[in-house]
């Protein structure tokens, strides 16, 4: 187990370093960063000055090392636009997005795992077909369309939910559904496929031959094994949701990281963009690492070696 953990950890760190290099090189996509940083009133002299102060005159490897070193200490530099430390702004917005992501994930799992299980227990039944339809339709609808339609019905016509902002828990309902709906097909399909496979396995037959109650067979013996790949998927999807919440946050005026990212992109606020990409990537890496660990813990074949 320890060996497994260390191996995974090593890979995670290596990936993180690579991602940080790619993110760092983003700054050179738009030309000379010093000019961008110097801003509107800068003279040639100012730009030279900035090059020196920010180290843009140094070899790129040194620049990268400095940047990474600062980033590791939580210093992502100054936002060009907001004129505040990037880290402060990000950590101010991160909780909102995390909350949204978590709600969306919970919604997705609560919807898709039971549907997947039922669909697997009764293949080709009405519920299976409904689940399949949800999956296929869900994959084909642009998310903003779904979000706006939901706003139209739940918000305007029926007045069930507040439309925008983050004032109360009710404000998170629509964005969470809109965001979570997009991962339900994948989770549902995987749960269904996993359950089908597990349910036809020999040890389920053994469990039934023991005279265990159907619920015990289903939940203790089947779901426990079928859920293992779903855990990985859920972690991966949670990472995707944090990065993919841009559209949803924009529509529902949720002032989270996705919204900040979008604003920063429009303002060409490079340090902010870099930091957000980096933070989200690290998040994803940590999540997949944790998912691996959870998997190992769920699956004794990995845990007990």
């Amino acid at each position: 187990m320890l060996q497994y953990v260390l191996k995974r950890l090593g890979i995670a760190i290596l990936v993180a370093v690579t991602v940080s290099m790619i993110t760092f090189s983003m700054i050179y996509l738009s030309g000379d960063p010093a000019i961008a940083l110097a801003g509107e009133t800068a003279t040639q002299e100012d730009i030279q000055n900035i090059r020196r102060v920010y180290g843009y005159d140094q070899p790129i490897v040194v620049q990268y090392a400095n940047w990474l070193w600062n980033a590791l200490q939580g210093d992502f530099g100054q936002s060009h636009y907001l004129k505040k430390p990037v880290a402060d702004v990000i950590f101010e917005r991160l909780p909102t997005t995390m909350l949204l992501g978590a709600c969306a994930l919970i919604f997705a799992l609560v919807l898709s795992i039971p549907l997947g299980v039922v669909a697997a227990v009764r293949p080709n039944s009405l519920i299976d077909r409904i689940a399949l339809t949800i999956a296929v339709v869900g994959q084909a609808m642009p998310s903003f369309w779904f979000a706006l339609t939901m706003m139209l019905w739940l918000g305007i016509y029926w007045r069930l939910l507040p439309i925008s902002g983050t004032a109360s828990w009710a404000n998170f309902v629509m964005p969470s559904i809109a965001l979570g709906y997009y991962i339900t097909p994948a989770v549902m399909r995987l749960t269904r496929a996993g359950m089908l496979e597990v349910l036809s396995s020999d040890y389920i037959r053994t469990a039934r031959a023991k005279g265990l109650r159907p619920m015990t067979v289903l939940f203790k013996h089947a779901l426990r094994n079928a859920i293992i790949p779903v855990v990985s998927l859920a972690a991966v999807q949670f990472g995707f949701m944090l990065g993919g919440s841009i559209v949803i946050e924009t529509i529902f005026a949720v002032n989270g990281l996705g919204f900040l990212a979008w604003e920063s992109i429009q303002r060409a606020d490079l340090p902010m963009m870099q930091a957000i990409v980096l933070v989200l990537s690290f998040f994803y890496i940590i999540l997949t690492f944790l998912a691996d660990m959870l998997n190992a813990w769920l699956d004794p074949r990995i845990r007990v070696m």
């Binding site: 040890y203 005279g211 203790k220 769920l298 699956d299 007990v304």
Partner: protein
Amino acid sequence: MAERVLEVEDLCVEIPIPSGMLRPVQHVSFHVGQGETLAIVGESGCGKSLTSLAIMDLLPSKAKRRAERLVLDGDALTGMTERQMADIRGNQMSMIFQEPMTSLNPAYTIGNQLTEAMLRHKSVSLAEAKDRAVWLLEKVGITAARSRLGQYPHQLSGGLRQRVMIAMALMCGPDMIIADEPTTALDVTIQAQILHLLAELQDEFHMGMILITHDLGVVARVADRVAVMYAGQFVETGTAAQIFDSPTHPYTQGLLECIPIPGKTERGAHLGSIPGIVPSLVGEIRGCHFAGRCPYVHEACTAEDVSLRPSLDAGHEYRCVLSPQAAIANRNKQAAQ
């Protein structure tokens, strides 16, 4: 004769498939007494595993079971609800499967899986269940039994797992045990140990046992009575001695030629094989199911359905249009060639 634990009369299994109705088990009847071992033998695909699953009511959900009588310990299983059936499974009647590698749940410890049936069926404490599990593990020849309870299936070898499976089947002290090819997946050296163990335990606990196998060598060693199954039907039943000494049905004869039997087959003797393929079991088959492969086939075979009829000795039955004398004569002729 010992008291009958299990009585089966006219058991049928039907499975609807796109091209019609598949009938893998047709009108099977037999009974098993206390301490008695019935071996069901046949090629793979003949319906013997489905027969056992039908008794346990563990058929795939699409499959339908019908039976005139299906009685365990005097209780009719036929009219039972799924709930009542679940109360019997693993309790009065257990099953041992052929794949020890995959028949244990990889996510739970041996101890957990051993005790759960007992905790389900009997009002015992976890400690009591564990004690019985240890006692049984020792019985099936597993050393350091108590420490095994905390281990996971993947930490055990195939032979050990099959022993665990046997112990698991015995947890509630069943009256009836069905062993579906319990040794097929194992090493030859271990096969013998496991069989020996099964026979011993059956004797000790005085259980009825159905042993499903295609290995006639195994049958010869442990079975009291034998049923030969072909294409969904029993084609010959009788005591082990009757079947091995005077096989009457041409299929049984063919089977016995296929397999070297220790002490019965001479070294270097001619090993036969049965030409042809098993008929499709979709829809109705007129006449004898073996007609397509039988060396002695003639018009009468396909004219009408053939039913089981008594052979020369009492309790020995077979399903063929030929008289027992004629059938045995055919065999001897064949052997002489």
